[in-house]
């Protein structure tokens, strides 16, 4: 692929902490290689800011290989930027041209308060997982895989749902700030397998209850989540979750709901 350098204008959200109001700050970066990743471009910016004695831009990242879900940046009006099925860290600068202005905002949702600049607190997702996104029945020692027959189709669907990295782009994209794509992926990957099947009803009820408590909105099936998900989690998972939830609500014997 052809290599080129570019000069860019960045408009980045700066905010001291959750209690202060933020604003956009403009920066210029030059000689950015088309082969850099988006985060490397931010590294260049921050080194430049440190050299100038200014405060660097705070942003989240960890693996930089598309598997941890930390790199939450809303780039030019789209979570994780313009590329389909790609996290911010895997977005490359060849997606941009010399002279471009790039606007970078944090995820916007009351359930994800800004910690600083582009970093938001996604602890709400952890608490949803803690509410039931696990298997608590004793599954015994690791046994021969063939002891538990699982249809290939179910295994594939479960695996595809398990690819969710909890990045929160679905919430950021949704006009209702709904977390249902995330939650449906977490419920689906367990419900489709025999080990997760036994607790599927209580799990759906508990996780949805926690989601509502965290202040996410309700799903109205617009499809924006599916369009931006870097792991291409399918919206059909939401229909599965709704099915789980409705039948669990009708069938459950527990008084806590």
């Amino acid at each position: 692929m052809e290599h080129y350098n570019m000069n860019l204008t960045l408009k980045v959200w700066k905010q001291k902490n959750a209690d202060t109001s933020g604003k956009f700050e403009s920066y210029k970066v030059s000689n950015i290689s088309s082969e850099m990743s988006f985060l490397e471009m931010f590294d260049v910016l921050n080194e430049q800011l440190v050299r100038e004695g200014k405060e660097p831009v705070a942003f989240d990242h960890d693996c930089r290989e598309g598997i941890c879900g930390m790199c939450s940046m809303y780039i030019n009006g789209r979570p994780h930027g313009p590329w389909q099925g790609t996290t911010t860290c895997q977005l490359h600068m060849r997606a941009f041209r010399d002279g471009d202005t790039i606007v970078v905002e944090p995820w916007r949702a009351k359930a994800f308060p800004v910690v600083k600049d582009l970093i938001v607190d996604r602890g709400a997702f952890d608490r949803i997982i803690q509410a039931g996104g696990y298997i608590s029945v004793n599954t015994g020692n690791a046994q021969d895989g063939n002891n538990i027959p699982i249809p290939k189709d179910d295994a594939d669907k479960s695996f595809a749902a398990a690819a969710c990295i909890g990045c929160g782009a679905c919430v950021a994209a949704c006009k209702n700030s709904s977390a249902l794509l995330f939650l449906s992926a977490k419920v689906s990957h367990l419900a489709l397998l025999p080990q997760g099947d036994t607790e599927r009803k209580q799990r759906a009820l508990d996780m949805v209850a926690q989601m509502d408590k965290e202040g996410f909105g309700s799903c109205t099936n617009t499809g924006a989540c599916e369009a931006v998900c870097p792991k291409e989690i399918e919206i059909t998972n939401i229909a599965r979750l709704n099915r789980e939830y409705l039948s669990a609500g009708l069938a459950t014997d527990s008084k806590s709901h």
């Binding site: 408009k11 956009f24 809303y74 030019n76 009006g77 789209r78 606007v103 905002e105 916007r108 949702a109 009351k110 359930a111 994209a173 006009k175 209702n176 700030s177 709904s178 202040g215 996410f216 909105g217 309700s218 799903c219 109205t220 099936n221 617009t222 499809g223 924006a224 989540c225 599916e226 369009a227 931006v228 919206i235 059909t236 939401i238 229909a239 599965r240 979750l241 709704n242 099915r243 789980e244 939830y245 409705l246």
Partner: protein, 225 residues
């Protein structure tokens, strides 16, 4: 939301079917008889109560949902995602629903109120020949002339026609999303059925809304008399 929405979808099907009787172009004989059946029979009367309840549930739930969902973002984005991930009508369900509601208020006061509480003229249909006959004719049965009221409304006030067309267009976009959305909400979709449901929803919305749009125009342009 989904259950009340599907009930309203079924209602619209019946409503459009009955109203299509105007195109028999028989001076309203068939239509007035159909309307009379719906008014005189106990089953439609009970269903009417159910309809009002479902409308109320849908409207109140819709408004609450819209207000709650709008409150979840906090600070908005400087650059909007727009149509890059979702269709505009799926994001405008609250506003489209509100437009339908305004239309509904006018619509009820135009036709439902006078037909239930008086204010319509009468007409007489001969029970044997099915012809319109003058008042007092032996064998003539009395009917509310809802047909004449439609003709009057849709030939006398052009602004009413404009309002109806706007209302039905809003309904169309509301239904194009609402139909498939309700099945998703109920968990009744998977890879196999989703395109079937989407397409059925589009065909349904086109047919129903085209029919409702043509009714006022048919009277206004004198296609039926």
């Amino acid at each position: 939301m989904a259950l009340s929405g599907i009930f309203l979808i079924l209602f619209l099907l019946i409503h459009a079917g009955l109203n299509a009787c105007i195109w028999a172009n028989d001076g309203g004989v068939m239509f007035n008889k159909a309307a009379h059946f719906m008014g005189a029979n106990v089953v439609p009367r009970v269903l009417e109560i159910g309809l009002f309840v479902f409308f109320l549930i849908h409207i109140i739930q819709g408004l609450v949902l819209e207000i709650q969902n709008r409150s979840k973002r906090g600070i908005g984005y400087a650059v909007k995602m727009g149509n890059r991930g979702s269709a505009w009508n799926s994001r405008a369900m609250g506003i489209l629903g509100a437009l339908v509601l305004i239309f509904l208020a006018v619509h009820l006061s135009d036709f439902w109120y006078p037909s239930r509480f008086g204010g319509l003229t009468n007409m007489y249909i001969d029970t044997a020949t099915n012809q319109i006959v003058p008042a007092g004719t032996a064998g003539g049965k009395e009917y509310h002339d809802l047909y004449a009221e439609m003709q009057h409304q849709f030939t006398s006030y052009p602004w009413i026609i404009v309002l109806y067309e706007i209302g039905v267009i809003a309904l169309f976009w509301h239904l194009v999303h609402g139909f498939q959305s309700s099945f998703r909400t109920l968990g009744l979709t998977n890879h196999k059925y989703i395109s079937l449901i989407k397409n059925t929803g589009i065909v349904y919305s086109v047919i129903i809304c085209l029919a409702f749009m043509l009714m006022p125009l048919s009277f206004y342009f004198g296609w039926i008399r």
